[in-house]
């Protein structure tokens, strides 16, 4: 076990535990705060995989923007600050489906990658990723900018008072 293995196990446990807290907590605001912990743990996993750019984009977009937006939505919908008992769907079938899909996915991946050879890791620094995005991937990048503009206009149209 190297230091990276220990960190992978510890951060993975934190990610899974806080994800379970997001799913099971009765407080809506606490679910959002646990989501911050999960996303931060996944960002650390990205750093361990040497994807620095993706890790920092994760911190900026998810922790910085998406979670703040979700918390604003929780407060704007006048959610109860205390416990809200909306966990009243039957939990048995959901657990069955979740465990089945999880075991199925893990087994499928283990079977597909049973004799994989790991190549030397790419360094996902901002310079390398930027060169790749504006080189081979420039057309999807431009399409994404149009998508973001459409989302911007759509959000403004939807939240106008007299729609």
């Amino acid at each position: 076990m190297t230091a990276i293995d220990v960190m992978l196990s510890a951060v993975g446990l934190v990610a899974v535990g806080s994800a379970l807290a997001v799913v099971s907590t009765q407080h809506l605001v606490r679910a959002g705060l646990w989501l911050v912990v999960t996303l931060g743990a996944v960002a650390v996993e990205f750093l361990l995989l040497r994807a620095e750019f993706v890790a920092w984009v994760q911190v900026l977009i998810y922790v910085g923007a998406v979670v703040v937006l979700l918390l604003f939505a929780v407060m704007l919908t006048r959610a109860p600050i205390g416990r809200s008992t909306d966990l009243d769907r039957p939990i048995g079938p959901a657990l069955l489906i979740g465990a089945g899909s999880g075991l199925g996915l893990a087994g499928l991946f283990a079977w597909v990658f049973r004799d994989m050879r790991v190549n030397p890791p790419p360094t996902g620094s901002a310079q390398r990723v930027g060169e790749a995005i504006f080189g081979d991937w420039v057309l999807p990048f431009e399409v994404l900018s149009v998508l973001l503009l459409a989302a911007l206009v759509g959000a403004i149209v939807l939240s106008k008072k007299d729609t």
Binding site: A19, V23, L35, V42, R50, L69, L158, S159
Partner: protein, 99 residues
């Protein structure tokens, strides 16, 4: 330790998010669970990039993040609109498209 463990972790996170989508009724918590599933997919993509030794998986993960941001903006606007007419953020109350 092989990159296999990252893939197993992403499968676990995806299943946790799927269970959350199935058992919660508040639309905003549903969104949080969808973010969990998208993040698990991103972790798998970055791990594939690590296995292959190329950057393509990381760039796809970056694109997924941008699309997720757009999705959250539009989704929350729709939730606010439904809340304004129904006074409720539960997905069970939004069973009609036209009110």
């Amino acid at each position: 330790m092989t990159p296999m463990w990252y893939i197993v972790l992403s499968a676990i996170l995806f299943s946790v998010g799927a269970v959350g989508v199935l058992i919660r009724r508040n639309a905003i918590v549903l969104f949080m669970c969808i973010e969990l599933m998208l993040n698990a997919a991103n972790l798998a993509l970055v791990t594939f990039s690590r296995i292959n030794g190329t950057l393509d998986g990381q760039i796809m993960a970056f694109f997924v993040m941008v699309v997720a941001a757009a999705e959250v903006v539009i989704g929350l606007a729709i939730i606010m609109l439904i809340f304004r007419t129904r006074r409720s953020a539960s997905v069970d109350d939004a069973n009609l498209l036209k009110y």
